[in-house]
Amino acid sequence: MGDVFANAMPVQGLIGGLMIGTASAIMLLGLGRIAGVSGLAARATGITVDGAPRPLAIAFVVGLPLGALLVALILGPVEERFEQGLAALVIGGLVVGFGTRLGSGCTSGHGVCGMSRLSARSLVATATFMVMGFATVAVMNAMGLGQ
């Protein structure tokens, strides 16, 4: 069984996931808000006027890299393999930005917060972006665009 999913990090994944869920719970029970990163990013940058008070959105968004930086300082270098190339970063970024606004959320808002609330919209959105993510990587691999 040793080589099945040889690269998986189930323990770190679970611990990191519990941290993400706890952070989302702080947003919900502390501030009465959904910890949806796409919405908070749009609010922090002034792209939308809907949602959390802007200072709170900015504080949350600034906290994201701060938390990652703390982990790097305390636990050592954080794994980051950016091998996708410039075109994938730009096209992927554009589509993610447009899609998350149109669909009212991303992995955090729909995936973590909405699914745990058993929101039908979030369950449908999460199933949709998961399936499209699987399909996109499969198609890219078939086209020889695998990374």
Partner: protein
């Protein structure tokens, strides 16, 4: 302590730390999860499972609270309809996620880990959000024209 900005900063930092600990700051690991028919890496499923546990509890606690700890009221989504925007937007998001291996949280957290590529993605993402804003707003239940002979 009723300092909402402290709650928001701590939540953001804990969220970012969780992304870094879980391996989700690594776009190749995320693509590994999305590579269902290749060398599949299930780590993201553990992350999602782990994140759902505190939130499932939090929703139960929330139902017993009249107001949040550091805000006047709960401001939570109320939409219920499975409209084309929801599904189309989620589909587009999934495509972009697959192309780059990045979604908004990890991309922003990565500004501290891999600043240059993360910044390129984040700027493009904000560009996509601005493009969306230029679209006409969602129609408010426009009356549909019935045509009898389609």
């Amino acid at each position: 302590m009723k300092r909402p900005i402290v709650f928001a900063l701590i939540a953001g930092a804990l969220f970012g730390a969780g992304l870094a600990v879980s391996g989700m700051a690594d776009p190749q690991r995320v693509r590994g999860f999305l590579d269902l028919f290749g060398a599949w890496d299930p780590t993201l499923a553990f992350v999602m499972g782990g994140a759902l546990i505190p939130m499932a509890i939090a929703w139960r606690v929330q139902r017993r609270m009249t107001s949040p700890m550091a805000a006047d009221r709960f401001a939570l989504p109320t939409a219920r309809d499975l409209d084309p925007r929801l599904i189309g937007g989620a589909a587009l998001f999934g495509i972009g996620w697959g192309i780059a291996g990045l979604c908004p949280g990890p991309a922003i957290a990565d500004l501290a880990i891999a600043p240059v590529p993360a910044a390129i993605f984040v700027v493009a993402m904000l560009g996509g959000m601005i493009l969306h804003r230029l679209l006409p707003a969602a129609p408010v239940k426009q009356p549909t024209l019935e045509t009898s002979n389609v």
